[in-house]
Symmetry: C2
Subunit: 508 residues, 2 copies
C-alpha cells in the first residue's frame, strides 16, 4: 500500500456523511436510461457499488433498475441516511416535507427551476429554507448534479465509489477535489480527466448553494487527507470573508486553482440565468485570488493541466527550488518554441556550463546542440533522450526543472512496420518492455531524490499507449509543447509561495 | 466531384516539379526501418504510391526495400527528375557533384551539419552554393525533412501522395499548406492534424533555406488553387522586403497564420543551433505580421485550430458579416465561460430580442433560459440543441456566428447502456443514423445560405466517433469550450479584413 493510499478521510466534518451515505432514497429515477436524468444518475450510483441500500420511490413502478420501488418515502422500512431528489421544482417541496417527517437529515436536490428563474423560484427557495430549519435538514443544491466520491467508505471499502452525476465516465482515483458552481465542470470534464490522467478524489456540483456552499466544502477538504489539490469553478462567492480566510489557510499546504466565469456583461447575464447569482468584476476576483494564493485561469484545458501538475507534485513531494529550466528535445522547432514561451512565462533557460555541455556531448550526435535547449536531432536512442540526458542535467545542479520533448509511441511505430511487411526481431519488440525499467522507474526516483520535476511531451494525442504508460506512473506528459512551460510556471510560483509561507508559519 | 476537388495545381512555377517528381534517386536509405531516418523516409515515399521510378543508391546493398539498388548515381539507367540526399554533411558535397554531372536539377538535402554548427558548416554550405551554380541545380534544405504533397500528380493521379518525412502519419487531404523552418511543425503535427481534421494540401520543411526559401513557396502557394490557407513557422525571414510584399498580396484572398519562434534570449540561442539563423525581436515580427494581415500565435494548438477554422471558411465561403455571436448550450458553466471569453476576445454576445426569445421558448424546457447564452438545461432532444435552435437563431438575423456546446457521443452512451444490461429498441439505435440527415447536412446548407458559421463543442476528446463525423463534413467541432471563441475571434477579424481589402482592390 503506497503512502497515498493510507491517507484518511475527514470523518469529523458533517459533510463526511453526505459523501459516504450507506442508504439512499431516490426520487425521480425510472427504467428509461436514455432520456431521464434521474435514471442515468441511479445507474451510475449502482455501478459505483458504494451504497448498501437503495430505495427508489416511484408512484407506479414495482421495480426500478432491479430494486424494489416504494410508492412513498413512508413505505420504506428503514430511515435512509440520505435522499436524492430529481423532481420538478414544485414536487420537491412536498417530498422534502415528507423526508423531514420520515427523519432523513441529508438531502441532495438536483432539480433546477429555483431562484435562477426569477420570483416564483425565489419563493420556492424560501420554502426549502423553512423546511430545512423545521426538520434540521442539510441539503446540497438545488440546481446541481450532486457529487462524485472516489473514496467512498474508504478504507473499509476498497473499490467502491459514489457518482450521482448523469455522465457515466469516471477518471482514476486520486488526490484532486473539485468544487463547482456548474455541474458541467464537476462532471463533464471527466472524459478529459480520464484521458489526461487528472486523478480525482471528490467532485462536487454545489448548484445554487442554498444550504451548503463552497466554503463548507473548502472547510471539509482542508482537513481531508484524501484531498491534496483543490479546483474551483466560481460564478459568485456568497460568503466572501469566510472564503478568503479559509483559502488563505489552505493554499500554503494545498494548492487551489480557480476558474471565474463572471466579469463581463454577457457572462453575468448567463450566470444570472444559470445559478441566479450576481458575480463581481474580474478585477475584484483577481484581487481575491492574488490575496489568497489561488491560481486562476479562463481556460478549462489549462485548469485540468494545472490540477494534474499540482497533483503529482503533492503526491511525491517534488517541488522545484527555483525557476531555471532545462529543455531537452529531438526537434529544434519545439525547443525554440518552448524556450520562447518559458521566458515569456518568467522562467529562466540558462546556457549550460562548458562542463555540462561536455558531458552531454559524450552521448549525443556531433551535429547536435548541448547549450540548452539540448537538441539531440534525429536520434533513435530513446533511453538517452528520455533518461540519460535528463539524469546528467539533474545531477549538474544547473536547473530546477526539465522538459523533454520527443516521446515516441513505439507501439504504433512497431505495428506500422509490421503491417508494412517488415519482420521485427525480439530486440525490437523489447523496446515496448524496456521503458518501465530503463526510463520510468529510475527517472521517478531521480525526480524525488533531486526534487526536480521532469515533464515529457511528444507529438501524439493523449490516447496513445505510451502516453498512458507515463501517466500510470504519475509522470506529467503533454501532447505537443504548449502546456509544459505554462504548467512549470505555476508550479515554480507555487513552490516559491509554499516555501515562503511554510517558513513563515513554521517560525515560533 | 466537389468544387474543391476540381481545383488545380500551380503548374507554371518551378516548384511544381519539386513537389511532383516522377522519378527519384535516393541516397541514405537501407532496409533498417527502425533506426535509419532515410529508410523511414523511403518507406513513406513508397507508401504514397506517387513516384513512378525509385532508384536507391547504396554502396553495398543489392536491393533496398524491394527496389534494385545502384552503387552510384551514374549506374542509374535514366536521369531521374529528382534526387533525395539523406547523408552525412561531407558526403553530400560529393554526391551533389555527381548528381550535377548526371544532369539532375532538383535536389532535396535533408542532412544536418551545415551552417547551424558553425564555421566548418558554413564552408560546406558555400560548397553547396557553388555546385548549385555550376550545374544549375535548385535544392531544398539542407537540414530539413523535405515535404508532403497530398495532391501529387493531381488531377491525373487520384489518390497518390508524396511524403518525404520520416513520421508515417498523414492527415486528410485538404486546402491548407504549411511552410516551416522546423521539420517538427511540418511533420510531427500530423498526428494532431489527423485527429483534429486539419486537412493538408502541402507541407514543406524548408530547413536552412540555402537555395529555396519560404518566399519561394509563398509565391508558389499564391497561385496554387489547391492551397486556400497558409500556415508558417518562422525562425527568421531572410528576404524581408519580398516577404512583406508577397504576404500583402496573399492575405486578402488566402489567410496566413504564423508562429514566430524568436524574440527571447534562449529562443535565439536555440534557433542559432537549429537552423543557424538570427531572428528579429518579437516586436518587430509582430509589426511585420500586422502590416501584412498575418495572424500569429505562440501556441501550436491554436495554430492548428486557426488553420482548420480558415480552411472550412474558405472551402465553403462561410464568412461572418459581423462580430455578434449566439451561444447555445445544455450546460450553464460552459455558456458562462464562453460568454466571458467571447467578450474578452472582442466579440459581441447580444441579448436576444423578445421575439426571438419567444420562438426559442417554444421548443426548450420551461426552466431553461433563452437570453443568449441559450441554456436548454438537461434536454436529451439533441435535434433541438444541434439543429432547430441554431436554425431559429440564424433566421433571426440577430447574430453573425453561433457556438453550440453539448455534443454527445451517442455511440458510446448506447454502448455503455447495452453493456450495463439494458435492452435498446430500434428507435434508440436510430439516433446513430439520424445525425447525418437531421443535423449535419441541413446545418451545413444553412451555414452556406446565411454565411453564418456554426461551431460545435462537447465534453469528449476528439477521438470519439461523433466528433469525427462532424469533421467529415468539415463542420468545426471542439473538445470543451476554450477554442471556439478564440477561433471565432480570428475568423471575424479576417472576414472584416477580407471585406475591406477586397472592396479596396475591387474598386477601379
Amino acid at each position: 500500500m503506497s503512502k497515498f493510499e493510507q491517507k484518511s478521510p475527514n470523518k469529523d466534518h458533517f459533510l463526511y456523511s453526505f459523501l459516504n451515505p450507506r442508504s439512499m432514497a431516490i426520487f425521480g429515477a425510472n427504467n428509461n436510461l436514455l432520456s431521464t436524468m434521474g435514471s442515468m444518475q441511479l445507474r451510475n450510483i449502482i455501478t459505483g457499488k458504494g451504497i448498501e441500500e437503495i430505495f427508489p420511490v416511484h408512484p407506479r413502478l414495482e421495480k426500478v433498475q432491479g430494486f424494489k420501488a416504494y410508492k412513498s418515502v413512508f413505505d420504506i422500512p428503514v430511515t435512509p441516511d440520505f435522499a436524492f431528489l430529481i423532481l420538478p421544482p414544485k414536487a420537491v417541496i412536498d417530498v422534502m416535507e415528507e423526508c423531514g417527517q420520515k427523519g432523513i437529515k441529508h438531502l441532495l436536490i438536483t432539480s433546477g427551476g429555483f431562484r435562477e428563474i426569477g420570483s416564483e423560484g425565489i419563493n420556492l427557495s424560501n420554502k426549502l429554507d423553512k423546511l430545512a430549519k423545521k426538520y434540521n435538514i442539510r441539503f446540497i443544491g438545488p440546481n446541481c448534479l450532486g457529487f462524485y466520491n472516489a473514496w467512498y467508505g474508504y478504507p473499509e471499502k476498497k473499490d467502491a465509489y459514489i457518482n450521482t452525476f448523469w455522465p457515466y465516465m469516471i477518471p482514476e482515483r486520486g488526490n484532486i477535489s473539485l468544487i463547482s458552481q456548474s455541474g458541467t465542470i464537476a462532471a463533464q470534464t471527466f472524459w478529459h480527466a480520464k484521458e489526461l490522467g487528472v486523478k480525482i478524489s471528490k467532485s462536487i456540483s454545489v448548484g445554487n448553494e442554498r444550504n451548503i456552499d463552497l466554503v463548507d466544502f473548502l472547510e471539509y477538504f482542508k482537513n481531508d487527507d484524501q484531498t491534496e489539490v483543490i479546483g474551483l469553478y466560481i460564478e459568485e462567492v456568497k460568503r466572501g470573508k469566510e472564503f478568503i480566510k479559509i483559502a488563505k489557510d489552505i493554499t500554503p499546504k494545498k494548492p487551489i486553482v480557480a476558474m471565474y466565469a463572471g466579469g463581463t456583461k454577457a457572462a453575468s447575464r448567463s450566470i444570472m440565468s444559470h445559478t441566479g447569482s450576481i458575480g463581481g468584476s474580474n478585477k475584484m476576483m483577481k484581487a481575491v485570488f492574488n490575496t489568497t494564493g489561488i491560481f486562476h485561469t479562463d481556460s478549462i484545458i489549462e485548469f485540468l493541466h494545472y490540477l494534474r501538475t499540482f497533483s503529482a507534485a503533492q503526491k511525491y513531494n517534488i517541488f522545484p527550488n527555483g525557476k531555471r529550466i532545462g529543455i531537452i528535445t529531438d526537434s529544434g522547432g519545439s525547443g525554440s518554441m518552448m524556450a520562447k514561451t518559458a521566458e515569456l512565462n518568467g522562467l529562466i533557460v540558462p546556457e549550460f556550463s562548458s562542463e555540462l555541455k561536455k558531458s552531454i556531448f559524450e552521448i549525443i550526435p556531433p551535429t547536435a546542440s548541448a547549450i540548452n535547449p539540448i537538441d539531440v536531432t534525429f536520434d533513435v536512442n530513446f533511453v538517452n533522450l528520455l533518461y540519460k540526458i535528463p539524469k546528467i542535467v539533474m545531477k549538474s545542479g544547473e536547473v530546477n526543472a526539465i522538459i523533454v520533448y520527443g516521446v515516441f509511441d513505439f507501439d504504433e511505430v512497431l505495428d506500422t512496420m509490421e503491417n508494412s511487411g517488415m519482420i521485427l526481431d525480439d530486440k525490437m519488440k523489447d523496446i515496448k518492455m524496456m521503458i518501465d525499467n530503463a526510463v520510468l522507474k529510475p527517472i521517478k526516483r531521480l525526480m524525488k531524490k533531486y526534487s526536480i520535476p521532469v515533464f515529457y511531451a511528444g507529438p501524439f494525442p493523449y490516447k496513445y499507449p505510451w502516453f498512458q504508460k507515463f501517466l500510470s506512473y504519475d509522470i506529467p506528459i503533454f501532447e505537443l509543447w504548449d502546456l509544459p512551460t505554462k504548467c512549470l510556471k505555476i508550479l515554480c510560483q507555487y513552490s516559491e509561495y509554499r516555501r515562503n509561507r511554510l517558513t513563515l508559519f513554521a517560525s515560533p
